[in-house]
């Protein structure tokens, strides 16, 4: 099982994403920007960033490799394959 080195970079990435979802550098800052305290905007932007990086992680194959699986072996469809229809409840 080959695990590219780039997969390991996800570990510190996740740690950073969790740690700075709290706007520590803005501790005690009370500026209001666009109607809300600026640290709320930090948080909103940060969670947006998390969503983008989470989705890259899930699509890169690192998701499966992290559990010792081959990216295609586990799922009911291949990575990146175009499948119409979406979800069925």
């Amino acid at each position: 099982m080959q695990r590219p080195l780039s997969d390991l970079a996800w570990i510190p990435t996740f740690a950073l994403l969790v740690a700075f979802a709290v706007p520590w550098p803005l501790w005690g800052v009370d500026r209001v920007v666009a109607g809300l305290p600026v640290w709320i905007w930090w948080h909103v932007g940060w969670l947006g960033l998390c969503a983008v990086l989470f989705s890259r992680f899930a699509r890169s194959g690192a998701w499966e490799r992290g559990m010792g699986l081959r990216p295609e072996a586990d799922d009911d469809r291949c990575d990146g394959a175009v499948v119409g229809g979406g979800d069925r409840p």
Partner: protein, 494 residues
């Protein structure tokens, strides 16, 4: 008249949710796997919303805005970090791994999974027992939230116990009648509904007070300290320990943990994982900001009422306020019925069958589960009448209790060398210690042990560390028993 309208909207909505559950029930098969796991068939939308709606409890809807109202909007950061980011990471680390293992070996509960891996009925029963113990205050929390919500909405015309009794009745009916498929279906509808009405409510209130800037301005005039990040209630210790204990606790909640077994495919889990931070923000920003903004509004929040219904009553028409509260109550009901349903499966599969009566028929097991649910909900209702703390306090206690299970489970999932004795020590010692801390506050004749130390650090965080250290240390000192089988948790494809 207004009172009649409000109550009509609420009861009508709860009945509608029940009707959906019944339709789903008719689509069910009568097997235990279908009753508890809907035959492991959930797609992304349903999985996402059923997990989401389960988090949509009184803790989020009423406790969160109440805390933001009293102490400032930082609660948004705490909850956003723990639910949106840390929980998402754990969703992968614990959830995906459990899904792989569960799919391979057909597990339905956490206790079953661990009991099988370590060849130990005792461990299985211990995990189930601990889970049921902490489930109790969380079910109680929903009843407290419903009671307080109706007090706020009706200005006290409906007494606290009336609201609590109403939701208890519906949650019992719901679980007994519908099962997991019904719960999941209504969760999806309610999740979408709540997301929409919370935004509508925020827009309505904000436009009534003159826009976001004006709402924030009024809030800062009344409470200048709300503008700066941190300080007051929100110490570093509180932020870090709350975020960690709740996020780990959530993964061990029976109703959340069981959802790790229900995904149709790994793809479903992946998509839910990536959408999670966005969904969390969409809910928390309007809900908690409404609470914080209320600090600058000319509203009078009665003692023992929740701030959100009071604000809605002030700025939106009665029918809309009632609709939001109905939605929140329905969401609480869907949290509670998920909890009760998972609790029932823990009780019957991990305690009743292995320990008490191994030869029980399926019919008998199903009957025991439903009676158990009713008894559990009624006991929690009785306890909720004493109102032992605020919504946030009661909720945090339950989360911390569950969080103490997380590190031993992580050891079991990822470390072959974990032994049965290590698991039992890692679960039992911190649980007993934490229970002593919690009970010392309730029982009159013993000195109350501190819940937080050094300015806001939760003792549960220390006990979490202890649970991890004990599991590892005792595992290293003992040898795996003959019955344990580490290969049960192997998922590698080569």
């Amino acid at each position: 008249m207004t009172l009649g309208l409000s109550l009509g909207v609420i009861v009508g909505y709860l009945l509608l949710a029940l009707a959906v559950g019944l339709v789903a029930y008719r689509a069910s098969e009568t097997t235990a796997e279908d009753y508890y796991l809907a035959s492991r068939s959930f797609g992304t939308v349903v999985l996402l919303f059923t997990t989401f709606a389960t988090l949509l409890s009184a803790f989020t809807f009423f406790g969160g805005p109440n805390l933001a109202f009293a102490a400032g909007p930082e609660w948004l950061i705490v909850m956003g970090t723990l639910d949106g980011v840390l929980f998402a990471v754990l969703w992968y680390v614990i959830g995906y791994k459990q899904w792989l293992i569960g799919n391979r070996n057909g597990y339905v509960t956490l206790g079953e999974m661990l009991g099988d891996r370590f060849g130990s009925v005792g461990l299985r029963a211990l995990v189930a027992g601990v889970s049921l113990l902490w489930l109790f205050p969380y079910v109680m929390l929903q009843q407290m939230g419903a009671g307080e919500a109706l007090v706020g909405l009706t200005d006290g015309a409906v007494p606290y116990w009336g609201g609590a009794a109403l939701i208890t009745l519906f949650m019992i009916l719901y679980v007994v009648l519908a099962g997991m498929r019904g719960v999941a279906w209504t969760d999806t509808i309610q999740g979408l509904f709540m997301l929409s009405v919370v935004w509508l409510a925020a827009a309505w209130v904000v436009s009534a007070v003159g826009g976001v800037g004006a709402a924030t301005g009024a809030m800062l005039n009344a409470r200048p300290d709300f503008g700066s990040f941190g300080g007051g209630t929100y110490s570093v210790g509180l932020i870090v320990s709350t975020a960690i204990t709740i996020a780990f606790g959530v993964t061990m909640f029976p109703q959340i943990n069981q959802r790790f077994f229900v995904a149709k495919s790994g793809e479903t889990l992946k998509r839910s994982f990536a959408l999670w931070p966005v969904l969390v923000l969409l809910l928390f920003v309007p809900a908690f900001m409404l609470g914080a903004w209320a600090a600058g509004m000319p509203v009078d929040v009665p003692e023992g009422a929740n701030v959100l219904p009071v604000v809605l009553n002030e700025y939106t028409p009665a029918w809309f306020a009632a609709l939001v509260i109905a939605g929140a109550m329905a969401a609480m009901m869907s949290s509670s019925d998920s909890m009760l349903l998972s609790g029932a499966s823990y009780f019957t599969r991990d305690l009743y069958r292995p320990v008490i009566n191994a030869d029980a028929s399926d019919r008998r097991e199903a009957w025991i589960a439903r009676v158990g649910v009713a008894a559990f909900a009624l006991l929690a209702f009785a306890a909720s009448l004493f109102r032992p703390g605020t919504l946030i306090e009661v909720g945090s206690t339950a989360f911390s209790g569950f969080a103490l299970l997380a590190l031993p489970v992580l050891c079991a999932l990822y470390w072959d060398r974990t032994t049965r004795t290590g698991m039992i020590a890692g679960v039992l010692v911190p649980q007993v210690s934490y229970l002593a801390v919690v009970l010392s506050a309730v029982v009159g004749f013993v000195p109350t042990l501190p819940r937080t130390v050094l300015g806001g650090w939760d003792v549960a965080l220390g006990l979490m560390v202890l649970s991890g250290v004990l599991t590892v240390a005792v595992s290293l000192l003992t040898v795996p028993t003959a019955e344990s089988d580490a290969s049960r948790f192997v998922v590698a494809s080569d």
